[in-house]
Amino acid sequence: MAATDSSMQHVQSLYSHHGWLLAWLRRKLGHVSGNAEAADLAQDTFVRIIVAHKREQCGVQSSEQTMQALREPRAYLTTVASRVLFNHYRRLSLEQAYLQALDQLPEIHAPSPEERLLILETLNEIDAMLQALPGQARSAFLLSQLEGMSYADIAVKLNVSLRTVKRYMAQAFEECIMQES
């Protein structure tokens, strides 16, 4: 119980910098003044921090981050918020690509708004997962899993050796397995 209390105290003390974080995010977003976007991202930042604290209690993560959070709360907040921000931009670029892809479908095949949202959520999840992979490895994995292409065909398409394709696939599978959530 003591651990939980002190952990929640950390989060609470970090929360006192909420206004500062909001201003930092607004500046990064390049908007003149406050809007819902910055507020959402600040919220996401704190959710991430709380999740990290919970993990730490379960012994999943070291307390290194907590130490940094106590010493330099704002530096810690910006580290986490930068990740949130990057994720935000990644999602925007994904949405853009998704809409462009939808455009090329005949109208009759256009998914309903609900379907669109579900697909986008799944795409986002997978996109985040593949983010860490080099471009070629990502291509190889997608061609195999989405197009059902054989390793030999992928090797020809990407102009690499069969052995390289297998290495890419192993990298991608490993990344999938090591996902946080």
């Binding site: 919970k54 892809a101 009759i108 985040a128």
Partner: protein, 353 residues
Amino acid sequence: MASPLPSSTSSSFSSLSSAERAGPPDRTIARQAAQWLVKLHDEHVSAADIAACDRWRAVHPEHERAWQRAEAIGGKLAGLPGGVALQSLGRSNRVERRAVLKTILLLMSVPVGYASYRTLPWQQWSADLRTAAGERRTVMLADGSKLILNTSTAVDVRFDSEQRLLHLHAGEIFIETARDPLSKELQTGANRPFIVRTAQGNVRALGTRFVVSAADTHPRLASSTNVTVLEHAVEIRPAVAVERARVIEAGQQIRFTGTTIDAPQAADRYATAWVDGRLIVNAMRLDDFLAQLGRYRSGLLRCDPEVAALRITGAFQLDNTDGILNALPDTLPVAVLFRSRYWVTVIPSPFSS
């Protein structure tokens, strides 16, 4: 392979429990599992490999858990529409951070221009730039700003030493302003204001770069200008009630007349779809949809009142409005009557009761 429902990735506390229960497995185990997966996805996989893999999975619960994590992803991938997923996930420009950050967008529409432009064609002729129905045009302005004209648009460009002025007579424009090169030349550091003027007033860009777009849209909304700000902000100054000037922020859209400014609303996220030649609508009334579509066509496009309230959703390519009309009966209980290319009426389908 079962394909589980896509779960939300938004940061919610409900996702916490599973993360707590099962963090990532040991790296070595993940690597082994990955090797097995590579083998089993190979078209030359042998029965012996499959059996060996099954044995590996049975050796330790952590092996099986690593395997299941990969399977779950495979299931999700299998549930996605292939072509669309490949294009979205395989996009080359992953994070266009700079582009996203620096663009300031502003959208405007001036419905009143529609009427005056039909009745007073000279205004259109006198415009520096104009587009016909269905046409779209991108212009680089003298200061490096980018201007895109939507269908049936007339705009004058008037730059001088004091200001950068666009006079929008009719239609819709999208502007991405550049930092004023003159400010560097004169070393004043001050940008000449960038202003879009309509019959209802001035829209002034606040920021270094922005995009303006204006459209004549709906007869119901006559005598007003619509502005959508996509990044940074603009100041609206109604022509008559200048004291009502107010700043509109990114993510907002607003309608104003010469004397009033409506309350801002959340910007339509597809407001700039036309820039890429598409129209994206969500449960839009059919008559509103046809009014939108009509802007991109010459001639008459009528909607029978009996089908006016039907709803339509989708992404449509504006370069083929005939194609869109022809496809309507596939999704809605309507028939499309082409009296000529220039006189089209959408009526109830004779086959539905």
